[in-house]
């Protein structure tokens, strides 16, 4: 038998620490695995596993959601405690050097369990800037385990951390009879190892306070939201007009010429490039199938994810959740539910996963239902803009006002009619931090790549299914069957029924299918609202099943169908 690294069982290394101390960035540095990180507590809601080489041995590294203590108080903390209770060969306890005392509370709890531990003293640069000096050698002596200062975002100290892993040892036996005793010990350690110099409050410190105080915080929130949306829309239009549209115009001439001269089968011709010369109306895989994801959605998605990423990394979103908490309270949620809502403007799939930061099942159900029903994802928004912009902004406004009203009214009613608890907000607000540009670009890149991987094949599939519906006559059949609802109640052409069905695959394709139907702008408003509301797309449906269970998802979907019909019918009669 050959003895090599593979014959040893891999070491199990567990990353643990308070929320928002940079565990995921360290994980990414150690394993090379890309993970989304952000400056707010609870970015990681699930554990991630990766592999790394430690000398001659392989190690499995587990990134666990952040916890404040080993007695879990939330759903997400429960996950971490469970992972911890399964045991590990080494724990890497990541602590925030700017808040030594609170972080040491968890450290001592881990050491009490007698697990070999290495402490990563992260955010070392931020601590220095705040005038906090920590004597690393003294801290090592007090804790009895290796301590390594790190700056995860820049990679500083990571090599030393790897070196220290090999030296990880079982901590000296420690036991505290009560938590008061533990805190007393923490006070002692802090006094011996930490010096805090007085510094004048920085610009960031002042901004932190004024963005929380209501008198200044509310106008700031409105300004941030306004600037973010206008930036995304302006940049998206610029990208579209200057870059993607010229490319697509040239491309469409080329591809139609190519297909005309090389493809003789009329069926294949129609599937590939469709029948209309217009990019949005042809419904060929190579024309509309590429134009929707790359020509319509992508130009808006890039600035959207850049702006979202910047807001995340600066640390603004938790402040927005404080400002909007009172409103969310009325609908059975609390401020932290702003996060899934903001993520949902990009894509509902990660947004549904993020409802785990909410404490009660009722809140998770409410947040997932309201967000997926009334907040269109970026693909949908880009298509809605594309379709309605030529008729004027007031139609776009009508779509979003209808959806927002639905969000508020449905939430208000559901909160009163469904049972369960609605706990209040209890959330740490991270300090503002300067975003790290390369991390921001990488995060945006990961998100865009996820979109392309998901969108391009599904949109192509949508085109094929649509062509099949059209050519086989199914489209007419569905239209005739659904006419009483689609035409009678919603006032739409009966062919819009197929668009609604295809919308289950991809909402953007569904909206695109409205293009050849020659609808009035008012009809387009009704159609866009109904399409957003009536059903989640298949990708969202799958994660909802995972997060809410079968019965929760079915209840959520049934509610949406009813709400979509009610709102659509009301809009139809209001707008005419």
């Amino acid at each position: 038998m050959i003895l090599d690294q593979w014959s040893l069982p891999p070491l199990k290394i567990l990353l643990m620490g308070n929320p928002n101390v940079g565990k995921s960035v360290i994980f990414s540095r150690l394993t090379g695995i890309e993970v989304i990180s952000a400056n707010y507590p609870g970015t990681t809601v699930e554990y991630t596993e990766g592999r790394m080489k430690l000398g001659e041995q392989m190690a499995t590294l587990v990134d666990a959601p952040g916890v404040y203590s080993l007695d879990p108080t939330t759903h997400v903390e429960e996950v971490s405690r469970m992972i911890f209770s399964k045991g590990a060969d080494v724990v890497v306890n990541v602590i925030d050097a700017t808040n030594l005392e609170r972080n040491l509370n968890l450290t001592l709890q881990i050491l009490e369990r007698g697990v070999p531990t290495v402490v990563a003293l992260n955010l070392w640069d931020a601590a220095t800037k705040k005038g906090i000096e920590i004597d690393v050698a003294a801290l090592e002596k007090e804790l009895g385990v290796p301590v390594v200062p790190t700056v995860a975002v820049s990679g500083q100290g990571i090599r030393d951390l790897v070196g220290a892993l090999a030296k990880a040892k079982t901590p000296p036996v420690m036991h505290f009879a009560s938590s008061d005793q533990r805190w007393a010990r923490i006070g002692e350690i802090a006094a011996k190892t930490q010096k805090v110099m007085h510094r004048h409050p920085s610009l960031f410190d002042r901004l932190e306070d004024i963005s929380i105080k209501p008198l200044t915080g509310i106008p700031i929130a409105m300004l941030v939201l306004y600037l973010s949306f206008s930036l995304v829309i302006e940049a998206g239009e610029l990208l579209q007009v200057k870059i993607t549209d010229p490319i697509f115009i040239a491309y469409s001439l080329f591809i139609s010429g190519f297909v005309e001269s090389h493809i003789s089968s009329p069926l294949l011709h129609d599937i590939l490039i469709g029948t209309s010369p217009e990019l949005l109306k042809s419904f060929g895989i190579l024309t509309t199938g590429l134009y929707i994801p790359l020509g319509v959605v992508l130009p808006f998605l890039i600035p959207f994810y850049l702006v979202l990423g910047a807001l995340e990394d600066i640390g603004y979103l938790p402040r927005l959740s404080i400002i909007l908490d009172a409103f969310m309270h009325r609908i059975g949620l609390h401020g932290a539910a702003i996060l899934p809502c903001v993520l949902g403007m990009g894509c509902s799939v990660p947004a549904v996963l993020s409802v785990r930061i909410l404490e009660s099942p009722k809140q998770r159900y409410l947040a997932a239902t309201l967000m997926t029903m009334a907040i269109p994802c970026a693909s949908q928004s880009a298509m809605i803009f594309g379709m309605l912009a030529p008729y004027g902004l007031r139609y776009i406004f009508a779509v979003y006002m209808s959806l927002f009203t639905t969000f508020a009214v449905t939430g208000f009613l559901l909160h009163r009619f469904i049972g369960g608890e609605s706990p209040e907000i209890f959330l740490e607000i991270p300090p503002y931090r300067m975003p790290n540009l390369s991390l921001l670009l990488k995060k945006t890149f990961i998100r865009i790549r996820e979109f392309l991987k998901e969108a391009v094949p599904y949109i192509a599939l949508g085109m094929i299914v649509m062509n099949f519906f059209y050519l086989s006559g199914l489209m007419r059949l569905i239209g005739e069957t659904m006419r009483p609802v689609v035409s009678g109640l919603l006032g739409l052409p009966s062919d819009a029924a197929t668009a609604l069905i295809i919308g289950f695959l991809r909402k953007d394709v569904g909206i695109g299918m409205f293009a050849p139907l020659d609808m009035t702008p008012a009809q387009l408003v009704v159609a866009s609202v109904v399409l957003a509301m009536y059903f989640p797309c298949v990708a969202t449906f799958m994660v909802m099943l995972k997060e809410l269970g079968v019965s929760g998802t079915l209840k959520s979907v049934a509610l949406r169908l009813v709400a979509a019909l009610l709102v659509g019918t009301a809009l139809h009669f209001l707008l005419n």
Partner: protein, 82 residues
């Protein structure tokens, strides 16, 4: 000295945590660094029943009104060094 609920305490003054009236919350507060004898600062109280924001040992925490009401504090005369 008078003990008042955190919700009723003034902003921007040093407050000392005296007691937590709901024992079931003691652990959760403690893990966030809010415990007896700790000096804290109330930064803001949001309108329309919104949350209270406090600063504890350099970190900021937002607490819903009913949660904040579980914390009883005493207003200390001397202002917190900024």
């Amino acid at each position: 000295m008078v003990h008042i609920e955190l919700t009723k305490a003034p902003c921007n003054q040093t407050l000392e945590v005296i007691t937590v009236s709901d024992a079931s919350w003691e652990k959760r507060f403690e893990s966030m660094g809010i415990r007896k004898g700790r000096h804290i600062r109330k930064i803001a109280s949001q309108p329309f029943g919104g949350p209270v924001v406090i600063e504890v040992n350099g970190s900021k925490i937002s607490l819903g009104r009913n949660i904040a009401a579980k914390i009883e504090v005493e207003v200390l005369a001397r202002p917190l060094p900024v």
